[in-house]
């Protein structure tokens, strides 16, 4: 019994790609293009940086060339995203599109939809969000109440989506809505996915301000916005299967264990320079991080080979998100809330401590994911 597939070691082409991305990031840092931070895949929206990545061919990586992408593998994308996150680079603008919108469009989109969106995604010109959660639907996603009514030539969507990161900057999102009345016996039926233009006048976006005062999340109110038939994603009524079949991509990538990496690195420096006492906890966290990389890479290998990896992805996300949160807490307990002579560490720590509660909530709470693991183990 093995819950997580065996990992391979990175081959020479990936190592070379890694070095290339590292050089690019060093140049960007030298040029002052960004300041390394924590949790940048949620908080670091920087269109100029995203376009610089597009120029290097590191956007739309798994999108085929015929749709304006790079036609590369999930493993190459893994290496690029891992390097970007480890550098604390601002990658939020393209994150959702790169991670899940692109792959979903490739799998379920029409030819016209692929041509309409994928080239713009790959150039860093079209930005996407994801519209799943609602005020009364968090972990219980099948309970979404956003309504899609059949009208002439399309659908009319009414309802409210929440926790939509970047909706105030984004051009469109995928909304999961109920297109047929709820049948309590088959509650996963009757859901559909729609591509919603966030610039439409019937779409109202209000900020949800996080506890530290930052604005990343939004409430998106859909006030009868018209969705033409050609902006239905995939098959009407098949939304649940479409959404859940893509969870492997969403759940186990490097962003699930690297959100606080820059803080760990800052703590390593502080310890090396004697500004923090030598403490075995640092080695322990470094060890877990090193192994989580192998496990996450193994899931990427499985995705590349179209193997089933839902349980493995859930398991890696549980371990990874706890680990990245524990790093924040570890440095907090070790330093007493920061170091007076270390502005960088203190800044990273404050942000990490405030972002931490979200790590084990977003993309499926750890409680739901442990249930997924238990199902994989045959207990449910």
């Amino acid at each position: 019994m093995s819950l997580v597939p065996a990992a391979g070691a990175e081959g020479p082409a990936l190592t070379a790609l890694r070095a290339e991305v590292r050089r690019f990031l060093a140049d960007q840092l030298d040029a002052g293009a960004f300041v390394p931070h924590v949790d940048t895949w949620l908080t670091g929206w920087d269109v100029a940086f995203t376009r610089a990545l597009a120029d290097r061919g590191w956007l739309g990586m798994v999108i085929p060339k015929e749709y304006g992408g790079q036609g590369r593998t999930f493993l190459e994308r893994f290496v690029v995203t891992e390097e970007l996150l480890a550098a604390g680079a601002p990658v939020a603008a393209h994150w959702i599109a790169e991670r899940q919108i692109g792959p979903s469009l490739l799998k379920y989109g029409t030819e016209e939809q692929k041509h309409a969106f994928l080239p713009g995604i790959s150039r860093g010109e079209i930005f996407f969000g994801i519209g799943m959660s609602e005020p009364d639907s968090g972990s219980d996603l099948a309970s979404v109440r956003t309504r899609a009514e059949r009208v002439d030539g399309g659908w009319r969507l009414t309802g409210t989506k929440v926790w939509t990161s970047g909706a105030h900057h984004a051009d469109a999102f995928f909304a999961l809505a109920r297109s047929a009345p709820l049948d309590p016996a088959r509650r996963h039926d009757g859901l559909s996915q729609f591509i919603v233009d966030l610039h439409a006048p019937e779409v109202h976006i209000r900020p949800i301000v996080s506890m530290g005062g930052d604005h990343h999340f939004n409430e998106v109110h859909l006030d009868g916005v018209f969705i033409p038939d050609d902006r239905v994603l995939g098959t009407v009524g098949d939304g649940w299967r479409q959404v859940t079949s893509e969870l492997g991509y969403e759940r186990s990538g490097p962003e699930r264990f690297l959100s606080t990496y820059r803080l760990l690195a800052a703590a390593a420096s502080a310890m090396g320079e004697g500004r923090l006492p030598h403490d075995a906890g640092l080695g322990r966290h470094v060890a877990r991080l090193a192994v989580l990389r192998h496990m996450s890479f193994a899931v990427s290998m499985a995705l590349e080979e179209h193997a089933e990896a839902d349980t493995a992805a859930a398991l890696v996300k549980v371990l990874g998100t706890i680990g990245e949160g524990d790093i924040a807490d570890y440095v907090d307990t070790l330093t007493g809330g920061g170091l007076p002579d270390d502005e960088e560490l203190t800044r990273l720590l404050r942000a990490a401590v405030l972002q931490r509660p979200g790590f084990t909530l977003r993309g499926g709470t750890n409680e739901v994911l442990r249930g997924v693991v238990a199902r994989g183990l045959g207990l449910r």
């Binding site: 070691a9 990175e10 081959g11 060890a287 877990r288 693991v373 238990a374 207990l379």
Partner: protein, 358 residues
């Protein structure tokens, strides 16, 4: 399958793994009744000897089976999953290897290993009383090491046991026997420590994996409040955490074994990978031992139950060849020395930045 320029794979020979699974699966079914004190199972040892499994990694030229550490780690894990009371790690990957590097002959009789102190006393020698001879790695004076193969007849053995109830004896040597050993370079002592640490890691993870199976079986069979306890969400979450930590421990061990095979023992990346494995496996053991006993309940704490044949050796072995804390300290030193700018290179390659670019 992804091409090799993207991914290189290391896996144990599937035929060997199938053989091991069969041999030790049958042993677990047919094994003698459990006792608090564990003795060497000489029948099993003879059977393993006949199958060439007691000298799995030794070169064929010196009577071994010529397998790699991939197969050795599989053997150690699978044997530990069957709680097989045989000194596979001590005899083969440590003892036979030491004899080989020292150029000493191996007659095939059962060996264990130890590092006696300056006075010639070694405490905590696994299977000490069972060995026909003990291979000693002895530091004669700082930086000067010798390997001596000392027959049991020339040893004073005081019986002791570890928390698993296994022989873990105090062995007294005649210093003259140690001084007559073959001089070896200090790198041998470093490699010995790494080999021992990795062997223990492979054994512990084998125990963890079997513990997960025991837990799953119990959670599916044991009924309370009218349903199997595995139907309760609280139990499911406990089991999920046990399984997740075990998967992490397995990934850490596989990565370390692959690194040792690909890069050799002298590469700093192997030290890092073994340290990572020791740390992750050690901490995972805390979660798994605690969680497994919680799920299996009071029956799991009794002598008649299988669970303690796994959890006791897990606890005994995770601290050998460096405690969990000592390896955390080693990794801390490497990480602190790498600092902000070198840490990512350390994490991704196991080497310091200047070593990685060399």
């Amino acid at each position: 399958m992804a091409p090799p320029e993207l991914v290189t794979r290391s896996a144990a020979d599937p035929d060997v793994v199938a053989l091991l699974t069969d041999v030790f699966g049958r042993y677990r079914e047919e094994r003698p009744s459990r006792a608090a004190a564990v003795n060497l199972d000489r029948d099993l040892w003879r059977r393993l000897d006949d199958l060439g499994l007691t000298r799995l990694t030794a070169p064929e030229s010196s009577g071994g089976s010529g397998a790699s550490w991939l197969e050795a780690a599989a053997l150690l894990s699978i044997a530990a999953g069957a709680a097989a009371p045989v000194p596979l790690a001590e005899h083969d990957v440590l003892g036979a290897w030491l004899l080989d590097v020292a150029g000493l002959p191996h007659d095939g009789a059962l060996r264990t290993v130890c590092r006696p102190d300056a006075e010639g006393v070694a405490a905590g020698v696994p299977w000490g009383r069972c060995a026909a001879a003990v291979v000693a790695l002895w530091q004669e004076e700082p930086g000067r090491w010798r390997v001596a193969d000392v027959p049991a007849t020339r040893l004073a053995v005081e019986d002791r046991c570890n928390v698993a109830g296994e022989p873990c004896d105090t062995v007294r040597f005649d210093r003259a026997d140690l001084a007559a050993g073959v001089a070896v370079p200090p790198a041998v002592a470093e490699e010995f420590h790494l080999r021992g640490a990795l062997a223990r890691t492979a054994q512990v993870v084998g125990g963890l994996e079997r513990a997960v199976e025991v837990v799953l079986a119990h959670a599916g069979e044991r009924t309370q409040f009218g349903r199997p306890i595995g139907r309760f969400q609280a139990v499911q979450h406990l089991v999920a955490d046990v399984a997740a930590e075990t998967a992490l421990a397995r990934a850490a061990t596989d990565a370390a074994v692959a690194r040792a095979v690909v890069s050799g023992w002298a590469d700093p990346a192997t030290l890092f990978a073994v340290g990572v494995a020791k740390s992750c496996v050690g901490h995972a053991s805390s979660v798994v031992v605690r969680g497994a006993h919680q799920v299996v309940g009071a029956i799991g704490t009794t002598l008649e139950h299988e669970l303690h044949t796994l959890t006791r050796p897990i606890l005994a072995r995770r601290g050998e060849f460096g405690s969990v804390r000592e390896w955390d300290e080693t990794l801390t030193r490497l990480a602190a020395s790498a600092g902000r700018d070198g840490l990512w290179t350390l994490v991704t390659t196991g080497r310091a930045a200047e070593e990685a670019s060399a």
